[in-house]
Symmetry: D2
Subunit: 434 residues, 4 copies
């Protein structure tokens, strides 16, 4: 036991009127929404990197946090960090967590030493998990922080880095399977370019496509039943990242024959950086059949970089869950808090409160989304708006050709009459629920 | 003859030392660059819409230009406009022009009347073209300005609008073929959505895919040998446009089986709005095999909307042509000036000077690009950087699997050593040429 | 009576459970919040330009709306427009409206004719207002739409335009006073530049400063007791507008000796375009003593231009009113809906519903803001955070000098200990109220 | 002597045809431009922080550079770093350098120990400078990196941090004076806020104003004859920084009575982040009489954060120097390269080449700017455009009032005729020089 969270009791649901900053006011795991427990809908996960590995630095300043598991470059403190992490899981009671290899183990002097450290921590996790309900939503490999990856992982101009990356992913997939993880994620932190002047984009894309095929092959080889997910992001750290957004990823998956094997892990902040709303990315992935999981956070719309703040705007979160529920809800995916404290939020209770607030916002968003679906107002509006397409004539036209349609338009003097899109009405409708 | 350009003589090449604002200082059509005449490399086109149809309005103000072809809602003035346009083509001597149907003919009270107006103008063009060298780079249909298209063309919730759009495109393809056009372009000005609340994105995408297949079928049916091009743009006028950028369009083309039939017409301003550099979009399309043509202009990086300014930054334009030349240069595509005067630039000589300046910038860019290719410095740098991949071992690794690679990395203790990307060196290199 | 709103009854407050799209669910004018009627807090105004003058155009398309007062270039239709406007005021029951001269009267062929038209409409308004409670929040002159203003009004390189602008503002101030207007607003739509290449910024700023001094002098001369307000905006339609944001305006006012005479009319959309949150602009103006009034709307964070949508995000609106209430609330200012329908929202009931939704959002925001102030949680947190400054020692230090402070720091070995900023805690706190 | 730059000879001017990547092709210090040596115009400075202190980290990855002066937390390596720095100054031959205290000395365990380290290095610098021509352009204090400043320096809620900051600035001003520095700079890296929820903006601004007054008082007390400069930046690391841009700083200086005591140090990247062009910020500062010095670099227009790249776009740099020359050129200010290598540019020759390229770009920009001034084309265009204002009638109007002007406009039927702004002509003109 660390004493980092000492004095902080497990967080309970106390209802909307509670003023206790460390109580849930809306997230009530056992409450049933649309026939399913709230916990089973939301499938919350805590991200090891933001909550335990990040030390509060930003581009203009260093560490602000002081933690009992610092410095992080030793196995002994890695275990203290794990102890604290599982203590937080006990306090919050969320069903899942996620990690990168580099979050949980100190870097070694060689691949072998890093692996040894990693496996030791995985065993330590396994033991802790054996007595708790908390499970692994996903594992992933950090292939962007160490200087060896400064020019990319699978897209690196040096084939040795490709090799190192492949070996690393194998170890992380093995560990994910061992811990019962439900997904394996790849985020191409440096899969992109800093300048086209030194980049062979076509070659790099081919290498990335080949790498992802190897990942899928290995999944099948070892019988891992989780989803393989890639995570779109448009920029930062690279000037351009190949997994720009959902639509770009879908094009990439098709080109390399993976659109039925790989799904997407979508993040609010990454959507914003790509010039999209979060619900746009979710609805796009859903329309293309590749919605897998989400990284929940919030991005400052005016920053230009990934701010990874905890979500706090119910109207926005409600629309995200609306599209997730319309797609059938999460099966293997979930809601991972890819969110970090502001660097001035120094204390243990800040860390707990931030997650409590985020979980409550998601709960409010989920309930609002469910209420809209049950009410049916949006679906009805869409059904009405496209009703013309449900006629046999309209369907026949879709199957015909330009010349035939021309004859009809010219012959009958078709002159379409615009109808109101009723956007404000629908926005007002949504505001009845949020 | 109109008197709009009276007193303005045909523009000549006078060399870099000329201070004549209406002379070419760099664009010398017959000068040979990399074995080809400059005119044949650049294949300049004038856009009818900006130069002749737009009246100087912006969201906060109306018409500023006073032209002899105003008001534009009559056939008589449409012909005056055509006269002025061809007078400008004679002055500038560029080899191509482009139009939307709505630029060149007044809207009629019915589909039939609009078509009659259109065909009369097409005949008028044909006659004018018969005595001139100027050719049609591409035609297109304006399916975004009239209120009937406020909710989209092929993606409209009303099937009558789809029909009207199909009939319209047929007429524009017919006219393009009749005039010997070398491409036919589709820009989905309102193919997107204003709000997801009233939108069925999956259905709209399917309709858009079907529509584009009809276009391709019709091309083959009538024996049109030009390229079919779609033009990416991320937003404006719609909140989200489905043809967001080159990578998104490529995914769309694959999904609807069109990646070998349709290419892209890329615009600098649209690239910027999507968060990309122009050369990124060009290099992406080239890597994916779908680079077709370009709309040359320049966008204010800080505006957030499509400013469609004339290009004026040689270093940027040089990189665009560098990637075009690396892809083999234009075959059927070309350089269309999708650029308009600032609304305070009221005079006829402003219109000429703007094109002269734009053509000179492109000429400087082309020559710089060609010099870089002939010098080979960038290609050599890339070749060196990826040289490791050219070994049999590296190629064998690409064909292997995670477990095999893991064994090698773990067994041999591979520990890649980062090498400098030399970005500033390469940027300095480029500055030797621009 | 027009029949434009026929069948739409006056909007009533029906409470939060109402599903009537044309009822207030939260705006209850007589409900007392912090000791004042809600109507007197919010002081809603309808903007004539968006609701009655704008025809649905955007940069890529023309008119979508069909209204009984079209075409707008005749006195007869200007009166039909006025009839419809006051019918809408009767339906919504809001206490104020606002206009530009160009919204309400057709442009004449000369200054004199435009003035005659304007005065006739002002008389027509006066008569209508005599039997209604609706009042004028502010009047203003449109000095950006007509081509004479393409290069600015008071900052125009042509002194005749300055003169025309001065004469115009006089007539609008006279009319505002005649109608009992409570403020007079200047928005420098084209007071800025398109390119520095043709601009003498120092001279233009001096002219703008002189112009505003003339306005203030005239206010005093005619005994107008309303506030003079300027409205910050960073760009669009100009590349750069001189009234960039609140802080810039404050610097301008100081330079020209007007900081005690002129206040600011702040708009959410303009704040966003300047890279600020709305509450930032409000808090800045309040801190500088120049908060006057607001233009309420919402801007797409990802558009780059002024989208002027109806507000629909309660958490954001609540923070805006929080800072307004902290500044003492509106006295002469108010909440003007500088918001327009989306151009696909064609119908009369769209126009009513949009305002109903906006008024409800503001009411929710106001109530949340008042509740936070009454609870005192935020103020307490700030008081605690700065408590160190309330000591005599801290105040003495502020009055001392670097050398004295150095001696103390070096002598006493002062080593400040960071304290948590508790941002997430405070964000969670706000979410208890919204 | 370190061996870091071993094998790299002093950089010479070799002329535009040189292909030597480590030669100046355009920067020829002794070449006379507009009557002054190029070196004396440009007054280049090297920034210690980017070139020697920064280790290549970014928000997603750590150190990439390997330098003989690592680790930097010891006095011995601080001296190796100084040795390498002066070796680079010898190689580049630029006349100035700049530092923050934290760049040059290891942080101590107390204020006193940090000061002792600092003073030892200042002495070490003084000795090195005694045998070289290189001088100090400016010194400054880093009051944003250490965690004590996480909530601001002079604006910190904790008065002890204000005290620590005051003491720190005193030591840096003393050292700057001792080394003959020509300016002292304050950049408010954390003077701003992360959230308004915990911020008393009015109080913080007052503290910042008081602090700056103390700095000015101390300057006079010790007889420091350099300029005091503040450096605008809109965001990053803070959500909002009080010194947003030039216009905001000017308002701040006026409010605290400092507009005649303090000037601005303007940075290209910061201008971009504020939504401005660099020349806008320069022209604004010049118009307001507060242009002091520049931080030359280039910012990715599409990143949203401070990329601090070396300048490489001549057309942009030329316009910056055009406005500097129009303001009379630098007196005490200069051109500081606030620019850093890309983190993949690992080698010593990358560092030299980056500066060589940047210096050449500035030299090209300066020569183009000088040529435009000598040609006079832009000035003539502006003079013509505003000529109407030079008449006695126009000047009389400026001194009159709204009612008088109204009488004239109404009486004479003034109807201004728009004249072309000729933007494209002027852009083409500029392109003759760049």
């Amino acid at each position: 036991m660390t004493d980092f969270f000492s004095g902080i009791a497990p967080v309970k649901y106390e209802g909307a009127d509670s003023t206790n900053p460390l109580a849930f006011r809306h997230y009530n795991p056992d409450e049933v929404v649309m026939g399913k427990r709230m916990e089973d809908h939301l499938r919350f996960a805590i991200a090891y990197w933001h909550s335990f590995a990040w030390e509060g630095g930003d581009p203009f300043g260093g560490q602000t946090f002081v933690r009992p598991w610092h410095p992080q470059d030793q196995m002994a403190t890695a275990k203290v960090k794990a102890d604290a992490a599982f203590e937080m899981f006990d306090i919050l009671g969320q069903p899942y967590f996620c990690w990168h290899d580099a979050d949980i183990r100190p870097e070694g002097d060689s691949f072998g030493e890093s692996l040894k450290n990693f496996e030791e921590i995985i065993d330590y996790f396994e033991e802790k998990m054996s007595t708790r309900k908390v499970k692994l939503l996903w594992g992933t490999a950090n292939m962007f922080s160490h200087r060896r990856w400064m020019s990319g992982a699978s897209t690196n101009p040096d084939p040795e880095v490709f090799a190192y990356s492949a070996a690393t992913v194998k170890t992380c997939m093995d560990a994910t399977k061992k811990l019962g993880g439900e997904n394996y994620v790849l985020w191409g932190g440096r899969e992109g370019y800093e300048t086209l002047l030194n980049t062979d984009m076509g070659r790099e894309l081919d290498h990335m496509g080949r790498f992802l095929n190897m990942v899928v092959d290995y999944k099948h080889k070892i019988g891992f039943e989780g989803q393989i997910l890639v995570e779109p992001k448009p920029q930062e750290p690279s000037k351009h990242q190949y997994d720009f957004d959902a639509a770009t990823c879908y094009g990439f998956l098709q080109k390399y024959g993976l659109e039925n094997e790989v799904k997407l892990n979508l993040e609010q902040g990454h959507a914003i950086l790509a010039g999209h709303s979060f619900e746009h990315e979710i609805a796009t992935a859903a329309a293309l059949g590749v919605l897998g999981s989400i990284d929940m956070n919030r991005n400052d719309y005016q920053s230009g970089w990934d701010t990874d703040q905890f979500p706090n705007n119910v109207p926005e979160v409600a629309l995200a869950y609306y599209h997730i529920l319309k797609d059938g809800g999460f099966t293997q995916g979930g809601t991972n808090f890819d969110a970090k404290l502001r660097r001035q939020s120094l204390d243990a209770d800040d860390l707990i409160a931030a997650h409590v607030g985020g979980m409550d916002i998601c709960a409010r968003g989920l309930k609002a989304a469910a209420a809209m679906i049950e009410d049916g107002g949006l679906e009805d509006a869409i059904k009405d708006r496209y009703a013309g397409w449900d006629t046999p004539e309209a369907q026949a036209m879709l199957g015909s050709d330009l010349a035939t349609i021309f004859d009809k338009v010219a012959g009958e003097g078709i002159n379409p009459a615009p109808k109101s899109g009723r956007q404000e009405m629908l926005e007002n409708y949504v505001n009845r629920f949020v």
